[in-house]
Amino acid sequence: MIVKAVGHRLLQAVLVALAVGVLTFLLTGMLPGDMAFRIAAGRYGYDHVTAAAAEAVRAELGLDRPAAMALGHWLWDLLRFDLGDSLVSGDPVVEEIAHQLGHSARLALTAILLSTLLGLPLGILAGLRPGGLVDRASLVLATALRAVPQFVVGILLILLVAVGLGALPVAGHDSAAHGLLPALTLALGMAAVSSRVTRDATLAVVRSPYYAFARTKGLPERAAFLRHGLRNIGVPVLAYQGVQLVYLIEGVVVVETLFAWPGIGHALVHAVIARDVPMIQGTALVMGLTFVLLNGLVDLACAAIDPRRAQA
């Protein structure tokens, strides 16, 4: 079953790679504005973007060749695991992404960890006492956090924790402490939803016949929860982490820019502005494949902890 699942994900990865490559290529081609001028603006800054600079870029990069040929080149290079060079910096895309992916992964992992630490206990507490104070308060908090844009959440956190308390640095990426505020910004938004999912899952488990039976047969509350509750709550919560990944990847783009964090979201935004096609294709590809990989891992983890499947 695992072999089949992995094979399925691999096929999905290949399809994602193809779709990302072709789509980003077509979409960037459809964007308004002259590509040579855009790249020149990205390279030389707006004081120096002139027709002469744009012509030099056009000649250097061979931008006049047919689009189909350029796409063919990209696919052929991809087969040889070569993502090409950035049109702006001239450096290999792989090197730039390797630098940025590490930063983004650190940010994302810390965010997932923090959101679990925040959302899971809160959701369980709320689910055990539905309608209670924790439940109502966390509903209000979750709604508010989810309704406010991440950008604003980030600024409020900076104001409160960094400027007000002086406990953490505002922005940058020199030390581990620099990563906490951006990760917390992402984590709060994720925990807002996962705490509600956990709460509903807890409630469903607590009200289920098997849980009632466990208690009827005389298991103490604590043992019943640990043995029959927690694992059953884990399945929908973990499955929901897959959905959260979309939010996480979206959020990374915003949060990295706000906190001057050199990640892949930041790179993608700049590449789109500068019309740096290999860089756009490379970052989109890596983001797409990461998504497939993480979804695959979530599936495997769900299968591993689901008590129903283990018995089947």
Partner: protein, 506 residues
């Protein structure tokens, strides 16, 4: 939840001392501009500003060339051969001596890439003894200023790959790069073998933070010692902070409307004058820039005394006069308050871009102000490259830009680019003024100071009369500086952050 926050806070406190150790006191600088590349033609400004690499010449506060890596220079009688004598005893950061051959090779690399040097009439660059010899195909007065531009940085031979790509920045400046992490981070330490005075600050860290809010908050929290480019709202708040000093200096960058003078609506100078008369410069300066004296009455600022004509009547607002001029041109007000002529409404697209955050705001203010005279502007916010691209394909009608007239410290070079006979990507469009071409051509090579002053006055007066670009406001360079730092000044030519002249407060 509190537990998790607690863990975070403990981690933060555990790590904080190592980040702010007093042993290696690092001066932290934050600015919006990213380090896109190691190549001087692309990101040279970062390495000049952080004093990592240097040019042959420098500029003083009034823009006059002064010696840097070149100790002196001469020009031949036919004004075609320039000789630059290099300073002795200069070493690159890799320990190799700066020879004339190495410096000439750097300049030839710059000549092969887009930039001001490529646009100068350079025929050959050679090394001759301890001198660099630059031969021109025609006289070009602003050559010394061109050699102060950051795309002409002098780097060691080992900085270049065989194909001419710059692989690492090995300069001659007082600071040597320790860590370069494009696009955002650079750490540099004092270079012990620097030829000039030894700076007081040992280490510097540079961070590019694109968001204005982030930069302001970094200044406020004390995370950064120097923060450049503050948005007007933050400036006001930071001025109230006792730990900070806020500096603002007008720089030779002018916010102006680039006008397509070939457009049927704007061909007549009276139409351009009318458009100029609708603009409330004082209002824009006070309300948007929060600097009431930033209104621009003429194209070049008083900070460039040679190029600012004192007696020239300043551009201002007069809706009645604007309406009268437009009536002369046959425009009549329609039912919706918009002018019409021959069934066509007076409707134009004003393009601008957000690289300088004030531009979109000023554009919408101008849109509102022009409407008072019946001119309907549509603001289109795009990429900076849309302006030169629109110039070239003829589709540009109006553009709001912030043009730096001292990219090269001598504004003549930029004026030649913008107002030459063909116009320029960031200058005149569809504007033919033979007198302007003649004045600039003579200025390019005139040597008599009195004659040069007269020619400059004529050039500025012609621009004020013809309005191929309509000045709106002066740009300010701003910085918030921690009181831990002393001796801070802003370079009006944006060439250097002047870190080497800073010291820590006792």
């Amino acid at each position: 939840m509190l537990g998790a926050l607690g863990i975070g806070a403990i981690a933060a406190f555990a790590l904080a001392p190592s980040a702010a150790s007093a042993l290696d006191r690092t001066l932290s600088i934050v600015a919006p501009w990213e380090i896109g590349s190691t190549d001087p033609s692309k990101s040279g400004y970062v390495f000049t500003r952080l004093e990592v690499a240097e040019t042959l010449l420098d500029a003083d506060d009034s823009g006059q060339p002064r010696p840097a890596l070149a100790a002196s220079w001469t020009v031949s009688d036919d004004r075609l051969t320039w000789r630059f004598r290099l300073r002795d005893g200069v070493r690159f950061h890799d320990g190799t001596p700066m020879t004339a051959e190495a410096a000439a090779a750097s300049l030839r690399h710059a000549l092969g890439k887009p930039g001001p040097l490529k646009q100068a009439p350079v025929a050959a660059i050679d090394a001759d003894g301890g001198e660099i010899v630059i031969r021109l195909s025609e006289p070009f007065g602003p050559l010394p200023a061109t050699l102060a531009h950051n795309s002409t940085l002098i780097l060691a031979p080992a900085a270049y790959a065989e194909n001419g790509q710059v692989t690492q920045v090995i300069g001659t400046g007082p600071y040597r790069i320790e860590r370069l992490e494009p696009p955002q981070r650079l750490v540099a330490a004092r270079f012990p073998d620097y030829w000039g005075a030894k700076p007081a600050v040992e280490r510097i860290g540079f961070l590019a933070a694109g968001r204005g809010e982030t930069r302001a908050l970094m200044a406020e929290s004390g995370d950064a010692d120097i923060v450049f480019t503050l948005d007007p709202a933050s400036q006001k708040r930071l001025r109230g902070n006792r730990k900070l000093q806020v500096h603002a200096v007008p720089i030779p960058r002018t916010v102006a409307l680039k006008v397509n003078a070939g457009h049927p609506f704007l061909q007549d100078v009276r139409a351009r004058e009318a458009l100029s008369l609708t603009i409330d410069r004082a209002g824009i300066a006070a309300a948007i820039l929060r600097t009431p004296d930033a209104a621009a009455g003429q194209l070049l600022p008083p900070s460039l005394p040679e190029w600012h004509v004192a007696g020239l009547p300043p551009l201002g607002r007069d809706i009645a006069r604007a309406s009268a001029l437009l009536a002369e041109l046959g425009w009549t007000k329609g039912a919706d308050g918009i002018l019409e002529r021959g069934g066509q409404p007076f409707r134009l697209t004003l393009r601008t871009f957000p690289d300088r955050p004030e531009l979109p705001l000023i554009a919408t203010a101008i849109q509102d102000q022009a409407r008072a005279a019946g001119i309907d502007l549509r603001v289109s916010i795009g990429n900076s490259s849309d302006v030169p691209a629109g110039h070239r394909d003829g589709t540009l009608e109006l553009a709001l830009m912030a043009r730096n007239f001292a990219l090269i410290p001598d504004p003549l070079a930029t004026l030649l680019e913008d107002f030459g006979p063909e116009g320029g990507d960031w200058g005149a469009m569809g504007w033919t003024e033979p007198r302007m071409a003649a004045v600039l051509a003579e200025l390019r090579d005139a040597t008599d100071p009195a004659r040069r002053a007269e020619l400059r006055r004529q050039a500025v007066t012609l621009l004020q009369a013809g309005l191929p670009v309509i000045p709106v406001a002066r740009y300010q360079q701003t910085a918030a500086v921690s009181k831990r730092v002393e001796g801070f000044t802003i370079d009006p030519f944006e060439r250097s952050y002047r870190i080497s002249s800073l010291r820590w407060a006792p």
